[in-house]
Amino acid sequence: MMLVVSCTVFLIGLMGVIFRKNLLIVLMSVELMLNAVNLSFVTFSKMHNSLDGQIAVLFVMTVAAAESAVGLGLVIALFRTLKTADSDQIQMLRD
């Protein structure tokens, strides 16, 4: 049951990352995906009676904190230079 929830949350996060236009929301969706994975880690940990999964969750949370800090920094830097946070407007990779 918890795995189904975890999967759903993961997919919602994935859809958010792919289809939302605002970079802040994309960033939040990434966090959502990470947390979905955390949920499944905990679930499996409980199922197999092993603490490994819970330790992995602690690591993921640390990394996620760092990642969101970096991500937010990048978004701010992008907003400053391009005056927008809309992903459709940011298509410089092609050129």
Binding site: L14, V17, I18, V26, S87, Q91, L93, R94
Partner: protein
């Protein structure tokens, strides 16, 4: 005594004269013909004496043990492929060596007189020595590459000497023609060598002689070697270079284009004779080509006006006789004819040279005549040569030519057609030779007054070789022991002598009182259209073929293939470009989709695996 000495002396002569030429070319001073000629002639005589020493040594040995081998050094060593630079002397190569060095010495001696007024005698004698060195390599080499070295070397020397007067574009052209025609034949030699190495495993000629081969392979090697010989020995289809080769100095024609180089084909056929005897088809091809060449070139010879061209076609014709002999299996008779022909044809060429020298380079026989009183020695010796080539007894040609004619009928490979064509060629030979003799020496003079006054007999250096060769033409026939005659051999001999006399009589009475220029058939005079055909077919045909290839194959096939390749690259680039939209989220979508596909694929294969193992 060392076999290498035979080769060494001409090589030394070549080196010394070569340096003298380089020095005189630098300083501008003309080298003396006497000095350089004496060096070259001495080198040849020294070489001749070494060969004569071996002749004496051989005559004291039993026939089966007459073989001397000497390996000088390892020439090529490439893993399992190993060729020594080795010399081998047996009866066959000794005979050729004696002819080359003996007749060669006489012709060198003659050249001193003939080339006395030349601009660069050192160059001439250097080339002549180089030729002899290479020719000796050809006959003494123990392996096929060694023979090929000599084969190519004599071709080079021949090219250099035909185009010796290189200011004259026509003569240079004749040299090139000879070289190119020979190259066509050489291709056969090369391929034969490759096949020999593949199937015999050795390039040693003696191993090849003793090898037992698949008949098809033996025939292929034999045929390819024969093809090479048609180039070097001027047989149909590659004979047209020899008449043009007369552009060279006359002693060169005598040495290279009559006595020695052109007979190297006969030498090679003799070397591989055990192989040829295994393939009767190749033998009959050789016999047919030989007798056809003898006949066709005798016809052409009847219509020539240039004294040297007549002799050139006569040489081609006589070489045809030798090939006929090889083709009917009478290899000994062929080699015997090589020797006697070397004597009398060299004699006739030198005689012609003497006439040309006396008349200040007039070569048209219709502008000569009545020279018998002014050139008594030349006339006398020329008559000896004439009698020898006609085959009148007891001159040398009588023995060798009649033996060939007998063998063309009586050998197991002979037949009536060969016999009749050989007799017909002998008839024509008698006719055109008498025509030449009568027109030059006996008929009323048709010379211009001014030339006539300056006619003089040649110097001693030129007449001595004539006399020696005349004696050899007379007695040369007795050097060979014919092995018992067939029952009606005597009839054939009588027939062939009668035929020769008929031809001679016809020639004599027709030209005895000739006082104008004969009108000959231009088609026959220009060689029955062989040259025209080669020019049309290869001269124009090959460029046309190249044009066709460039138009059709190159434009349609090659260019379009390349165009298609470049279009493919462009197209795939365009297709792949459409994926590069630049939006990060689009890339992400692609990644996810691909990841899903991969996941499904992996899962599916795992399921199948489980399913499979489950069974």
């Amino acid at each position: 005594m060392n076999l290498f000495l035979i080769l060494l002396f001409p090589l030394i002569g070549f080196t010394i004269n070569g340096f003298i030429h380089l020095k005189s070319a630098k300083s501008g001073a003309k080298a003396s013909a006497k000095q350089t000629g004496v060096i070259a002639t001495l080198a040849m005589f020294a070489s001749f004496f070494v060969s004569a020493f071996y002749y004496l040594q051989f005559s004291g040995m039993a026939e089966s043990s007459r073989l001397i081998e000497q390996s000088l050094f390892t020439w090529m060593n490439l893993g399992s492929f190993n060729v020594d630079f080795a010399l081998r002397l047996d009866s066959l190569s000794l005979l050729f060596t004696l002819v080359i060095t003996g007749v060669g010495s006489l012709i060198h001696l003659y050249s001193i007189g003939y080339m006395s007024e030349d601009e660069s005698p050192a160059r001439y004698f250097a080339y002549l020595n180089l030729f002899c060195f290479m020719m000796l390599n050809l006959v003494l080499g123990a392996t096929m590459p060694h023979v090929f070295l000599g084969w190519e070397g004599v071709g080079l020397a021949s090219y250099l000497l035909i185009g010796y007067w290189h200011q004259d574009v026509e003569k240079v052209g004749a040299g090139q023609k000879a070289f190119v025609m020979n190259r066509i034949g050489d291709l056969g030699f090369l391929i034969a060598m490759f096949i020999t190495y593949k199937y015999v495993g050795s390039l040693d000629l003696m191993v090849l002689q003793k090898a037992t081969l698949n008949p098809a392979i033996a025939a292929t090697i034999g045929f390819l070697i024969f093809f090479a010989c048609t180039g070097k020995s001027a047989q149909i289809p590659l004979f047209t270079w020899l008449p043009d080769a007369m552009a060279g100095p006359t002693p060169v024609s005598a040495l290279i284009h009559a006595a020695t180089m052109v007979t190297s084909g006969i030498y090679l056929l003799n070397r591989i004779s055990p192989l040829l005897l295994q393939s009767p088809e190749v033998m009959s091809v050789i016999a047919m080509v030989g007798v056809t060449t003898a006949f066709v070139s005798a016809i052409i010879g009847c219509a020539q006006k240039d004294i040297k061209k007549i002799l050139a076609y006569s040489t081609v014709s006589q070489l045809g006789f030798m090939f006929l002999a090889c083709g009917v299996g009478a290899f000994d008779a062929g080699v015997f004819h090589v020797m006697t022909h070397a004597f009398f044809k060299a004699l006739m060429f030198l005689g012609a040279g003497s006439v040309i020298h006396a008349l200040h380079h007039e070569q048209n026989v219709f502008k000569m005549g009545g020279l018998r009183k002014k050139l008594p020695i030349t006339t006398f010796t020329f008559v000896m040569g004439w009698a020898a080539i006609l085959g009148l007894p007891p001159f040398s040609g009588f023995f060798s030519k009649d033996e060939i004619i007998i063998q063309s009928l009586h050998s197991p490979h002979g037949n009536q057609i060969l016999f009749i064509m050989a007799l017909a060629s002998a008839l024509l030979t008698a006719f055109y030779m008498t025509r030449l003799l009568v027109l030059v020496f006996f008929s009323p003079s048709r010379m211009e007054k001014e030339t006539e006054e300056h006619v003089h007999e040649s110097p001693l250096t030129m007449t001595i070789p004539l006399i020696v060769l005349a004696i050899l033409s007379l007695v040369g026939g007795f050097m060979h022991h014919s092995e018992g005659g067939h029952q009606d051999s005597i009839n054939i001999i009588i027939a062939s002598v009668v035929v020769a006399l008929v031809g001679a009589a016809f020639g004599f009475f027709r030209y005895r009182k000739f006082d104008k220029e004969e009108i000959t058939n231009a088609f026959v005079e220009q060689g029955l259209g062989f040259d025209v055909f080669y020019n049309k077919f290869f001269g124009n045909g090959v460029p046309a073929l190249a044009k066709g290839v460039s138009k059709w194959v190159e434009e349609l096939f090659v260019q379009n293939t390349i165009r298609f390749c470049s279009w493919m690259v462009q197209f795939s680039g365009n297709v792949l470009k459409s994926f590069q939209v630049g939006s990060m989220q689009a890339y992400l979508l692609m990644m996810v989709v691909l990841g899903l596909v991969l996941l499904i694929w992996v899962l599916q294969s795992m399921m199948q695996g489980v399913f499979f193992y489950g069974k």
